[in-house]
């Protein structure tokens, strides 16, 4: 391949010249690329900053919700688990359940409906089981992530299962 181009170049250029010319063009191209990369890198990192902050927030494994033990029966507390919304449900039978509140279909925030005893997503009508997070009907392809719950006198601790 390189021999071919060499031959082809020899036809139009003076002998000996194509090497230096080709080397110069390659070097200039490489320097130009380095220059462009040196400009693009800080801009990329600048624009990606919130994403990186969110990534470090995803590393959160435990959230303490102060005074959440006082949550009445059949009600919900919305909170942020790392960067994403999550819900703590105190069921009518006294059970505590904590789930991710991000619909697995297209990412809307879902809603706990105590009277219907379900979790509903208003965007496309997805329905989840409020005890297990299982996707019951509608478009959601996966269940909601279930978190571990520990209730004490000071509050409620939610952690990754």
């Amino acid at each position: 391949m390189s021999e071919q181009t060499h031959l082809a170049a020899n036809i139009v250029e003076e002998p000996g010249e194509p090497h230096t010319r080709r080397f110069f063009l390659a070097a200039a191209g490489a320097a130009g690329l380095c220059y462009a990369a040196a400009l693009a890198y800080p801009i990329y990192r600048y624009l990606a900053s919130p994403e990186e902050m969110a990534l470090s927030a995803t590393a959160v494994t435990e959230v303490t919700l102060k005074d959440a033990q006082k949550l009445p029966l059949a009600s919900v507390l919305m909170f942020k688990f790392g960067p994403s919304p999550a819900m703590l449900i105190h069921h009518e039978d006294g059970r505590w359940v904590s789930l991710s509140a991000v619909c697995t279909h297209l990412g809307c925030t879902v809603q706990y409906e105590p009277q219907a005893d379900r979790i509903h997503c208003a965007c496309h009508g997805g329905v989840y089981n409020p005890y297990t997070g299982a996707n019951v009907s509608g478009p959601p392809p996966k269940p909601l992530t279930l978190y571990k719950v520990a209730v004490n006198d000071a509050g409620v601790e939610v952690s990754r299962a």
Partner: protein
């Protein structure tokens, strides 16, 4: 089909609809004069390049900047939290200053080469308007971080329209959004800086550049005196363009060096209850008018001095803007010489008052 015939077909298709070959023919025939003063031709291009840098870095800052009450906090975040935010902000601030500087160099080179003469009067006028807008860009942008310095600089700057009789206070209040510099001021300066000014600046810039294409580069009178055969020129494409782009690259390198080695500082958050910091002064490009007003205020104390200062300054600017209409002759006669001396006087006055201004801060 080989790749060559494909690209020819695509080119022909686009050319038929957009007339690319006419543009190419125009570019081929465009030439740029070559003479001892050719160096000054680059400064318009450098100003244009720095303006493009301003647009680009400005949009990047816009990604995180929040005007109003949170202005300072958001600039603090850009500077200290976001990766390379300090660099983007520093580049924007440095490039703003370099742009004003290169516009000034461009203006004075046009002035001394007498490039404002017929048929280039509109080029001069639009250029002056662009310089005026650039300084309003500078003034409005300076407030946006809402740190101590920008707060007091804006407070002082807006005292100048206050001195205009009758309508002064109304104008100042309108600009400030109230009797004091506050979050309302930041919010409206922001609207001015990123929407209103670009909306006026861009079409005016297009007009200015179109005029340059239409009339070509002006040559200084010494060159014009030579017979046509002795004047030299080079093709714009690619010879001058290559040099122009090399100048852009040099400008970018200087900018990168300044922005990274001398990062733009962010002061303490503005607080109207904290006394103004010692040594506070306007940006260098406002130093001269500021100092002139101060000097005149010393000669003529009180309101009279302020009004006289503003009148004198306005008169000077009007005379400067109207130069193409009273220095019209092609030959270097009495008027041409007078205009030349006026230019020298302006440079002298700007430089001395700026030096005095910086000298007296210390």
């Amino acid at each position: 089909m080989t790749s060559k015939t494909i690209s020819t077909t695509v080119y022909d298709w686009v050319d038929e609809r957009l007339g690319l070959s006419e543009l190419a023919a125009f570019a081929r025939h465009k030439t740029v004069p070559v003479h001892a003063q050719s160096f000054w031709y680059y400064w318009g291009g450098i100003s244009l390049f720095l303006f493009l840098v301003q647009c680009f870095t400005g949009v990047l800052l816009l990604v995180y900047y929040r005007p109003g009450v949170e202005a300072y906090e958001s600039v603090r975040q850009i500077t200290f939290v976001m990766h390379f935010g300090w660099l983007i902000r520093s580049a924007h601030a440095w490039s703003a200053n370099l742009m004003i500087f290169s516009i000034l160099v461009h203006m004075f080179s046009v002035f001394f080469m007498k490039a404002y003469r017929k048929p280039r009067e509109f080029g001069w006028l639009s250029g002056m308007a662009l310089l005026g807008l650039a300084s309003v860009f500078g003034f409005s942008g300076y407030l946006l971080p809402m740190d101590e310095l920008s707060y007091f600089a804006t407070k002082v700057g807006l005292q100048i329209p206050m001195a205009i009789p009758l309508i002064g206070p109304a104008i100042a209040n309108m600009l400030r959004g109230g009797p004091e510099v506050s979050e309302f001021t930041v919010q409206r300066f922001f609207a001015l800086h990123v929407v209103v000014l670009p909306a006026i600046f861009l079409p005016l810039l297009a007009f200015h550049l179109w005029l340059v294409q239409r009339h070509g580069n002006a040559v200084p009178p010494s060159e014009e005196a030579k017979p046509a055969g002795e004047r030299k020129s080079i093709p714009f494409m690619p010879n001058f363009l290559r040099k122009d782009l090399a100048m852009w690259l040099i400008s970018l390198n200087i900018l990168a060096l300044l922005a990274s080695v001398f990062p733009w500082a962010l002061g303490k958050q503005a607080d109207s209850l904290v006394p103004a910091p010692a040594g506070i002064h306007p940006e260098w490009y406002f130093m001269s008018p500021f100092e002139m007003l101060k000097l005149l205020g010393a000669v003529l104390p009180g309101e009279i001095g302020e009004i006289a200062g503003i009148l004198l300054f306005t008169l000077g600017i009007v005379l400067w803007i109207l130069i193409p209409f009273y220095d019209v002759g092609k030959e270097s006669g009495q008027r041409a010489r007078a205009a030349h001396y006026f230019g020298l006087l302006a440079v002298f006055a700007l430089l001395t008052t700026t030096v005095i201004g910086y000298w007296t801060i210390r």
